[in-house]
């Protein structure tokens, strides 16, 4: 069964303190691993798609990486506006376009 586990559940950082969020997964035939940002009461905002192990993508202070078992979202020198819940999702070969979602990591960045 395809599965996604995110850790930690919550993370509190000081402004400028870099860290990483983890998304561990099991899947039969990865068709894509997705990272989203979600602000309270809002819809998820798409960040990155990763397709194969070794792939990396960057956007401003965020960098997503992918191995055969997990993905990391690295946050470099975070700012308070990076505070949000970060969601990981994947699509496997057998899912017929259905995304499997993690529970998310709630990130708080203190000024």
């Amino acid at each position: 069964e395809d599965q996604v586990t995110q850790s930690p559940e919550a993370l509190r950082l000081q402004e400028g303190e870099s860290s990483s969020l983890n998304c561990s997964y099991t899947v039969s035939g990865l068709r894509g691993l997705f990272w989203y940002r979600q602000d309270p009461g809002k819809g998820p905002e798409f960040l990155f798609t990763l397709y194969s192990a070794g792939e990396e993508k960057e956007k401003e202070r965020l960098k997503a990486t992918l191995t055969k078992k997990e993905s990391f979202l690295h946050i470099t020198a975070p700012k308070p506006e990076d505070s949000a819940t970060y969601l990981c999702a994947l699509r496997g070969a057998g899912n017929n376009r259905k995304l499997i979602w993690g529970l998310g990591t709630s990130l708080a960045v203190n000024p």
Binding site: G43, L87, L103, G104
Partner: protein, 117 residues
């Protein structure tokens, strides 16, 4: 990516009533999805709506409770019927858009925050 809007953005409803949520996309899309996100939980797919065919519901969701319309390629509605406090959630409309032949990426609307008293 396409721009997705939802109405209403939030509502407070009484037990036993129904609410219809609208989703409008600024371009034509084949597949639209409806999700529910209960407090403190991740996203749960309710159904997939293709234009011109009946919606496909996920396990645990039925058409009588969550009827969906998809009259054209830019619009869909989700109705939450005979509501109970357990239906209090954020309801999200989503579409897929492909990227250079790779697997499609899902994009989400701003959500409708529903509170049932």
């Amino acid at each position: 990516s396409a721009v997705i809007s939802q109405k209403p953005s939030r509502d407070i409803c009484q037990r036993g009533t129904s609410l219809t949520i609208q989703c409008q996309v600024d371009s034509q899309v084949t597949m639209m999805f409806w999700y529910r996100q209960q407090p403190g939980q991740s996203l749960t797919l309710i159904a997939t709506a293709n234009q011109g065919s009946e919606a496909t519901y996920e396990s645990g969701f039925v058409i009588d409770k969550f009827p969906i319309s998809r009259p054209n390629l830019t619009f869909s509605t989700l109705t939450v019927s005979n509501m109970s406090p357990e239906d209090s959630s954020i309801y999200l409309c989503s579409i897929t858009q492909g990227s250079l032949g790779h697997t499609d990426t899902q994009y989400f609307g701003p959500g409708t925050r529903l509170t049932v008293l």
